[in-house]
């Protein structure tokens, strides 16, 4: 059971990492020049009695030493209590619970779209290598790699929402509708998903292209062609399939980029997901919420790596990943 050992190995690495990340967050917060109580009170800080401020501070445990604050937070975390968001005045668990689904919806749809489009277009570019079509595809991919996703998002809004008026510019539903309905949601979903998938697809496309070009030179592809197999069969069954193996690992390594893309796309399209909430939490210096969201993102990355490792052993039984990690 190789994959069991991989899971154990990843956990052995992941738990200390999460501890280190969370502790570093607390240390940074302690070193921060902002007073969270003043931030919380806003303008009322001017008229609030210093004794009351001290009371709030004691309530939040800010007057205690760093390690004690940290262990208290960790203890609450283990029991499933993430604390209370200071800017939204709601339990952090509730904030995340309400928004996580929307983020997963966008990211999931974008992932599927990106995989399908990236594989198809990348293979096409490799097959028609050095033609004008290939130049166009790889050129676009290079430019896309260099362009910031929020800028692409804005251009997409300008083109499809403002100029052509086909799709809404952002949000989850139309402003006047009270409930979320399926067709309305689907229309609002198109642009964020397309922009996220487009911006994430260029590396995949270039990777697939290069990989397929390399495989097309191999003997077994020449052999398959010599046996008179159809070009489509050679391309899809022989070349693409063996070009895909290393790609599973790279998928796992790309999860941080996906999180970054989700943050920016949600910000541009005012999508009510967790990633966009991170920015609101950061602007309000809402430490409990920010800490929970950072933790969530790190867990997502670790899970992505784990899934990639397990998938790789399933796909290719020759690998012994253990110790390599």
């Amino acid at each position: 059971m190789t994959w069991l050992r991989i899971v154990a190995w990843r956990l052995a690495f992941g738990v200390p990492l999460l501890l280190a990340v969370t502790f570093a967050m607390f240390a940074l917060a302690k070193a921060s020049p902002f007073d969270p109580v003043r931030q919380y009170l806003g303008e009322r800080a001017m008229v609030t009695d210093p004794r009351i401020m001290a009371e709030i501070r004691a309530n939040w445990g800010l007057d205690r030493p760093l390690v004690e604050q940290y262990t208290t937070w960790l203890g609450h975390l283990v029991r499933g209590d993430l604390g209370e968001s200071r800017s939204l005045r709601l339990p952090v668990a509730q904030v995340i619970g309400e928004r996580l689904g929307w983020t997963l919806l966008v990211v999931g749809c974008a992932l599927v779209l990106m995989l399908a489009a990236g594989l198809a277009v990348g293979t096409l570019a490799a097959w028609r290598r050095d033609s004008w079509l290939d130049r166009l595809i790889s050129g676009t991919a290079f430019a896309n790699e260099a362009a910031p996703v929020f800028w692409i998002g804005l251009l997409a809004i300008w083109l499809f929402a403002v100029k052509l008026g086909w799709l809404p510019a952002g949000g989850l539903t139309d402003a006047d509708s009270a409930a979320v309905t399926m067709p309305d949601l689907a229309r609002h979903l198109v642009l964020p998903v397309a922009v996220l998938a487009f911006s994430q697809s260029s590396w995949l496309l270039l990777f697939v292209r290069e990989s397929v070009i390399a495989v097309l030179r191999e003997d077994f592809v020449t052999g398959a062609r010599a046996r008179g197999l159809r070009e489509r069969t050679v391309l899809l069954r022989h070349a693409l399939r063996s070009a895909l193996l290393p790609f599973i690992t790279i998928m796992g390594a790309r999860v941080p980029e996906l999180v970054t893309g989700a943050i920016l796309v949600e910000a541009v399209f005012s999508w009510p997901g967790v990633a966009g909430t991170t920015i609101k939490a950061a602007l309000a210096v809402d430490f409990p919420l920010l800490a929970a969201l950072t933790l969530l993102a790190t867990v997502a990355v670790l899970l992505g790596n784990l899934v990639a490792d397990v998938a790789y052993t399933v796909a290719d039984p020759r690998v012994r990943v253990l110790g390599v990690s």
Partner: protein, 303 residues
């Protein structure tokens, strides 16, 4: 019969094949040289603009002119004006200046940290190497932008905070590159000779490792610049980077968001193009440098 078998299958003749390959190689080399000149020219123009224009035209960061608000691109304003009547071209150049400066400093900071960590890991080996590499893995498994947001949010948004946040999150690539180079250097005969000759560790690092590492570090730094620029603009776009009144590419795209919904595309489009152009030019240049340093593993991505 006019066609001989040889003409029918020109590929089968070794000589024709060799000639075709020579032509192909020449074509690729010419295209690569052309691309390098284009990239260099672009970078030179941008750098000159960034250095010279502020000397000739001063930009008052606070000045607004509501009579000239929202003008489309014209001769007087080649990039148009934004929603409070500021010239987009002039502000873009000032913004690019800020972004390039922040990007350059951040890239140097992260390459320095990465170089030191990689050198320590590679030269010391053993437990220290393993520990440092786990730290690299750890930093890599945090989304960089998120860590940046965290740092900038807890300390006041400013150029320094942006540089620090890019510096502490982006050193891992340089560390990996330097470590693997040091590991390969360690096995070379001239290092053995230096050790047998009685050189100290420090001397080996200074005299043998550093000169051999310099090109790799330089390449890593150059490649880091566009990444750092991207990071700075993303943070500024989110309102977590440079102060809002300051002309920076991220701030300008953020400002342009409102006029974009009214149909004024130019105030967002041009600052973004100024992020795109230097990034592409630097990538092309880095690709060229990489091909020169390592011609055998020429990437297919070079076309």
């Amino acid at each position: 019969m006019a066609t001989t078998p040889r003409q029918a299958t020109p590929d089968s003749s070794p000589r024709t094949w060799r000639r075709a390959r020579l032509i192909e190689t020449g074509r690729v080399a010419r295209r690569s040289a052309r691309r390098r000149s284009l990239a260099l020219a672009t970078l030179a123009i941008l750098v000159l603009a960034v250095v010279l224009v502020p000397l000739l035209v001063r930009l008052d960061q606070q000045l607004v002119d509501l009579r000239a608000a929202g003008l489309p691109p014209s001769l007087a304003h080649p990039f148009g004006t934004d929603e409070v009547g500021r010239d987009v071209l002039l502000r873009s150049i000032y913004g690019l200046r800020v972004s390039l400066l922040v990007g350059l400093v951040a890239a140097v900071v992260s390459a320095t940290i990465g170089g030191l960590v990689g050198l320590a890991a590679g030269a010391a080996g053993g437990p220290l190497d393993r520990l440092l590499m786990r730290v690299v893995d750890g930093v890599n498994s945090m989304p960089h932008l998120l860590l940046g947001i965290f740092i900038v949010a807890l300390f006041a948004p400013s150029a320094i905070a942006v540089i620090v946040s890019v510096g502490v999150t982006h050193w891992t690539t340089a560390a990996r590159i330097v470590r693997s180079e040091v590991l390969s250097l360690r096995g070379r005969p001239f290092i053995d000779a230096a050790v047998s000759g009685g050189s100290s560790r420090l001397r080996i690092v200074r005299r043998h490792f550093l000169p051999n590492l310099a090109p790799h570090l330089l390449l890593a730094t150059v490649l880091m610049v566009p990444h750092a620029i991207w990071h700075e603009t993303a943070l500024s776009f989110l309102g977590l980077g440079l102060p809002a009144h300051l002309a920076s590419l991220g701030n300008m795209i953020n400002d342009g968001q409102r006029s974009l919904l009214a149909g004024d595309w130019w105030s967002s489009l041009f600052p973004g193009l100024l992020i795109l152009t230097p990034t592409l030019a630097i990538h092309a240049l880095a690709q060229h440098l990489r091909d020169r340093a390592n011609p055998r593993r020429r990437s297919e991505l070079a076309l």
